[in-house]
Amino acid sequence: MDSIIVADKLNFYYQNEGEAPQRVLKDLSIQIAPGEFVAVLGHNGSGKSTLAKHFNAILLPQGGVCYVNGIDTRQEDKLFEIRQQVGMVFQNPDNQIVATIVEEDVAFALENMGVEPSEIRRRVDEALRSVGMYEFREHAPHQLSGGQKQRVAIAGIIAMRPRCIVLDEPTAMLDPRGRQEVMRTIRRLNTEFGITVVLITHYMDEAAQCDRVVVVDDGVILLDDTPKQVFSHVEELKKVGLDVPQATELIYELNREGLSLPRDIISEEECVTVLAELLSHSR
């Protein structure tokens, strides 16, 4: 099988006591190929986090099947293998760090996996270098900024040598600098190490940097395409409580005023180029 993740007609329900079960995923199917950099968008409650939790068997399908690297996630004896293939990073860095020294934290999973000490040393150093935190290896996590902590959490996953990382709003609690650091790190893992990235985010500018954007709404996939294609659906996105990058919105608004500018502008540079041309014609 080529895809690293295959979800086939996934169904999932949350059950609150005394209430009817709530169907969160509705026959949802998706395939993610090795080396892809995919953003998943959707408003709170759309089902996107529930979907992501199927990708490393935190949740198991209640209908349909989810395969990770060809393994059916319902195979309990393969859980270890699945989690080693697909690592997950969460929103709050403080909830993910367990040790009192950075390098010990990165080594935590490896120790549990029974990796040789010399190999652990090698992998921890490598992982910390890959996220740009090697110089901080002997620091205490509480001395680090949010962005740095998130990078340590990512290093802990990288040290397991996964094929895929799933990040659930990793920058939600960070300031702009921390967000940039984390985004740069994730991109580097993807381009230099070929790690597949699934990034769940509420930031449209982050999604615009990915290769593929999947929009989840009400338990189904609404849009699944390149960022340029997805963000050209301004009205549809707004209808489901999402947004578009400001560059996209400005061009959209100008087009509503009767101009006919390209509809697939998603970056600052593209927007500047289009506006510069527009203004020089009007001179």
Partner: protein, 291 residues
């Protein structure tokens, strides 16, 4: 000029003073915040902004320097500090983790009850605050833990609104919410400000949000106030602000770039509406000679 609602003089705060971990978090802050202002507070993690706002309702006492609320020296009599906590309401980050009562109603009523108000007054305030943040009668009887994340956060905000603070400080009230949730909460705060004219301090990492909702911006950098001025004047310093690890709205960067390229646009554009209006005016001017 009327008395500023918050005023500080050489306010400094040092954590763990006298230990090897001593760290100055706020240094020599002199600021006057006008009554009724809607202020966006920005600064990177560790810039001192959270430490500063905790002084505004007396959670922290300055290591040195002074602070006045409505012209009254806050620490003149430390026993009376409670009075200032009712005057200045602070909504923390992730306030939904602080809900604890059996029902939404009781949770919102907690603050006003502690103020020693009559039952009637409490009831009126709870309903008003709940109405502001869009909670329904049905939700009031529920346990706060049955609600969604965004709803819980609105309950927590209502709990502070119900105390009718003169100054409302919100520390990243939209962290982790989706765009619609962000707009909903900020829109409600804006409406609250418009109707009651209270002073609002909104701590945010989102420059787009500060640009959209605030009139003034307070920028903290390295424990000091870098700037306190009207939003457009602050964002005109885009270069310096970005160097501090903050960012200006994407639209501001686009207009700065156009200005650098020699196009006759102003560099203090910070919302989509302004950008659109300016471009349309320029285009119309351009059309005339050809017409």
């Amino acid at each position: 000029m009327s008395t500023p609602v918050i005023q500080t003089e050489n306010l400094s705060y040092v954590y763990s003073k006298g230990t090897p971990f001593e760290k100055t978090a706020v240094e020599n802050v002199n600021i006057q915040i006008e009554k009724g202002a809607f202020v966006g507070v920005i600064g990177h993690t560790g810039s001192g902004k959270s430490t500063l706002i905790q002084h505004f309702n007396g959670l922290l006492a300055p290591t040195s320097g002074k602070i006045w609320i409505d012209g009254e020296d806050m620490w003149a009599n430390p026993k009376e500090i409670r009075k200032f906590r009712f005057k200045v309401g602070l909504v923390f980050q992730y306030p939904e983790y602080q809900l604890f009562e059996e029902t939404v109603y009781k949770d919102i009523a907690f603050g006003p009850t502690n103020m020693g108000l009559s039952q009637e007054e409490i009831d009126q305030r709870v309903r008003e605050a709940a109405g502001f943040v869009g909670l329904t009668e049905e939700q009031m009887a529920k346990s706060p833990f049955e609600l969604s994340g965004g709803q819980k956060r609105r309950v927590a905000i209502a709990g502070v609104l119900a105390m009718r603070p003169e100054v409302l400080i919100l520390d990243e009230p939209t962290a982790g919410l989706d765009p619609r949730g962000r707009e909903l909460i900020l829109g409600q705060i804006q409406e609250y400000h418009r109707r009651n004219g209270n002073t609002i301090l909104l701590v945010s990492h989102s420059m787009e949000d500060v640009a959209k909702y605030a009139q003034k911006a307070l920028v903290m950098n390295d424990s000091r106030v870098f700037m306190y001025d009207d939003v457009d004047k602050v964002f005109a310093h885009a270069g310096e602000i970005e160097q501090m690890g903050l960012s200006v709205p994407q639209i501001t960067r686009i207009f700065l770039r156009l200005a650098q390229l020699g196009y006759p646009v102003s560099s203090d554009v910070y919302t989509i509406e302004q950008a659109k209006a300016q471009l349309m005016t320029l285009l119309k001017k351009g059309e005339r000679p050809n017409a």
